[in-house]
């Protein structure tokens, strides 16, 4: 479903290498956690995957569609929420969701059904008619998630999705991600919360200084580091060297 091949991206005329020769494959029906310390290249990779950044080399395929060659076709398959999403502050929540439904050409009946369902999930019915500028960070995160899910995308790409959510919403959202994967869709997300990754991800990848340093199920990574190691310990060993 998602295929990343030989991805490279540098900044400052090649002096800062943000992503180096990254290869990833995420098959249908999988929740994939993308882990790494700050500045490891997670957001750069995600931004390239959704078409926000142009890679120096390499390609990203979403359901076999090259994001750079056929961007509109690829974008139709993707639902995306960035880290700390800034939305149109002059729109109300319902206007934003309706806008997203319009541009993804979601039929009226389907959009009503999905919005009603997602409003229950995120408990946002009271705020839907208010301007987004009145929303808290968590509410913005929720309305952005509703906007990303409105067209029922095949691939959901999220940058730190849990950071603004309250415990109830985070719990229901994890359930929602699980249900999507059972329906054969893909959820690809970056996170710093290793507990979340450990509990809900089918597979994880760890990136450090732009390079992939580990990839597999949490069990496989544990085995590499010693059977009793937690994902946190594995993460620290791989990203910072030996941990005492």
């Amino acid at each position: 479903m998602i295929k990343v091949e030989g991805l490279c991206k540098s900044y400052n005329n090649g002096k800062v290498k943000a992503v180096q020769d990254l290869d990833l494959v995420v098959p249908p029906g999988e929740i994939f956690g993308f882990l790494g310390p700050n500045g490891a290249g997670k957001t750069t990779t995600i931004n390239i995957m959704v078409g926000l950044l142009k890679p120096d080399r390499g390609q990203v395929l979403i359901k076999g569609v090259d994001v750079r060659e056929r961007p509109l076709e690829a974008k139709r398959q993707i639902g995306f929420v960035p880290d700390n999403p800034e939305l149109y502050e002059g729109l109300t929540g319902v206007e934003y969701v309706n806008f997203m439904a319009d541009v993804f050409e979601v039929p009226a009946a389907a959009r009503r059904e999905r919005v009603a369902e997602l409003l229950e999930v995120f408990n946002l019915r009271d705020a839907l008619g208010d301007l987004i500028k009145s929303y808290s960070r968590g509410m913005k995160q929720k309305i952005a998630l509703i906007g990303a899910l409105i067209h029922d995308p095949e691939v959901l790409i999220l940058d730190e999705p849990m950071s603004g959510l309250d415990p109830r919403s985070a719990y229901v959202f994890k359930e929602l991600m699980r249900r999507r994967c059972e329906a054969g869709k893909v959820v690809f997300f970056s996170t710093h919360v290793l507990d979340v990754a450990e509990r809900i991800c089918d597979r994880v990848a760890i990136i450090n200084r732009g390079r992939l340093v580990a990839e597999g199920t949490v069990e496989e990574l544990r085995r590499q580091a010693g059977s009793s190691a937690t994902l946190e310990r594995v993460f620290l060993e791989l990203t910072e060297g030996t941990v005492e």
């Binding site: 400052n12 005329n13 931004n47 959704v50 078409g51 926000l52 950044l53 142009k54 961007p71 509109l72 076709e73 974008k75 139709r76 993707i78 995306f80 960035p82 999403p85 800034e86 939305l87 149109y88 502050e89 002059g90 729109l91 319902v94 206007e95 969701v97 309706n98 806008f99 997203m100 439904a101 319009d102 541009v103 993804f104 050409e105 979601v106 039929p107 009226a108 959009r111 009503r112 919005v115 009603a116 409003l119 019915r125 009271d126 705020a127 839907l128 008619g129 208010d130 301007l131 500028k133 009145s134």
Partner: protein, 562 residues
Amino acid sequence: MMSRRALWALLRTSLNSNFGLSAFRYRLRHDRRRSWWVFLIPFALIVMITPWLIMLAAMFDVLYVQLEPLGQGHLVLTWSFLLGQMVVLLFGLYYLMSAFYYSRDLRLLVPLPLTPAAILGAKFATVLANEYLTLAPIVLPGVVVYGIRAAVGPLYWPLALLAFFLLPVVPLALSGALVLVIMRFTNIRRHRDAFQVAFAVVLVALILTGQLYIGSVLEGDPEEVTRRLLDDGSLVNVGRYFPPSVWLTSMVAFRSPAEFFGGLAYSLLTAVGGIALLAWLGARFYYGGLVGGEEVSRRHRTFSSADLKSELAGRMVFWALVSREWKNFNRHPIFLMNGLFGIFITPFVVVLAVAFRASRAGGLDALVEALVPLPHAEAIVAVGLGAFITFSAGYNTVAATAVSREGRSFWISRTIPVPVSLQLLAKMIHALFFALVGALLPALLAWVFLPVGVLPVFLGLVLGTLGAAAGTALGLLLDMHRPRLNWTDAQQAIKGGMNGLLVGLGTLVLVGFMVFLAFLLAPALGFLGLVILEAVLVGGLASVLVYILLVRAEEAYLGIEL
């Protein structure tokens, strides 16, 4: 007590952020290919403000000639300083309220170990720096006219420079003090949008009144003008009620050492006093007014299934994009007010000025009577109207900031499955709509008052629409290639990128071309021939610009890295 080093760091960072200095340096170092426009800015500035400078200098020159025989030539300086200080006083309220209470960086600054007075001081200094840029074209003509006419000594120029630096301090400090008191003791902060709209309306009313007043003072024969100027209650005498301009004049154009030292002492003391007052009020009131300043009232209406059904109706993608532009623009007071200023106020002021002058010169009938017998009256009306609409559209920042206005929410435009060209077309329709609504007033007035028939007015409207389309496409092209997305204050999105200035320059060139062509070819081609030729040329230019815009759209958007 915070250290001087911390204070200096805060001030430097505020100025850096306001003028985008680091971002500019970075672009120059790392992206020279896309920084070519920087070299156009001084040129654009000179071209755009030169007509204004000439007009103001001519006005002050007339004044000096009238006043000098009465020994009152220095009133040119007083008036010039007063005009600048009034502008600072009025606009300062608007800018300081925005900077003190609604800048996004306050979320970062307030939790830092900085005193309220330090944050306030940094914000004040930033607005002050901007005011110097605004003041220069207002004050410079009067200062230069007096300097040349009055055969001044060598001390005049450095003293005039000192006066220029002192000039905005007192009015801006007074505006700041007023803002602090208003925000501390009223509930305005929770209704900032309504306040900004109301304030802008008041500002427009004051500008129009000022325009009429200045017109009324300057009309008539020279003796009459002089009499009015020296009358009690005239604009010059307003200086008595706001004496800093009189003190600055005494300092610069002194006739005795006592006058010089008096003027200097009063000017310095009031400047220091103004800042001290602001610091004192800031220490007491600033944080009290700031707490809750970010809050926006909410309705908490629960959406029923019926509400969802009506609100979630499907639209065509294009109209969804136009609606996005419309709502994001109209619901942001700063965007809306800047747009309306450019579109409605400029034409309105010009039309009003023409009407007023016409009434002074024997009524509009006299003006019409003078126009109608001209050999190419129809061509003059059509091309004049077309050029005027093009000019107004060029000063409209709606298109030149269309991408910048998206700010940090620009990621949405980049990730939705909609061609960039379609998104830009929606922006163009939105901007063009504003330009054309602004064009209707002059067109209507021309149709009602000028007895040349409907055809020249209609063709002028067509020509103006084509010119406005060219200006709009140029604005979008520039903003697409160099948007300012990382703004912390909405004013930065409008003014920070300088795209509006470059578009203004472009349309000024186009207007010059249209008028030049009319002078050159009207006798040979006649009314219809000339208008058709101009429509073909201007329409051709608009088509080429729109074509470039649409062809380059995808690549340009891809080049914008957030």
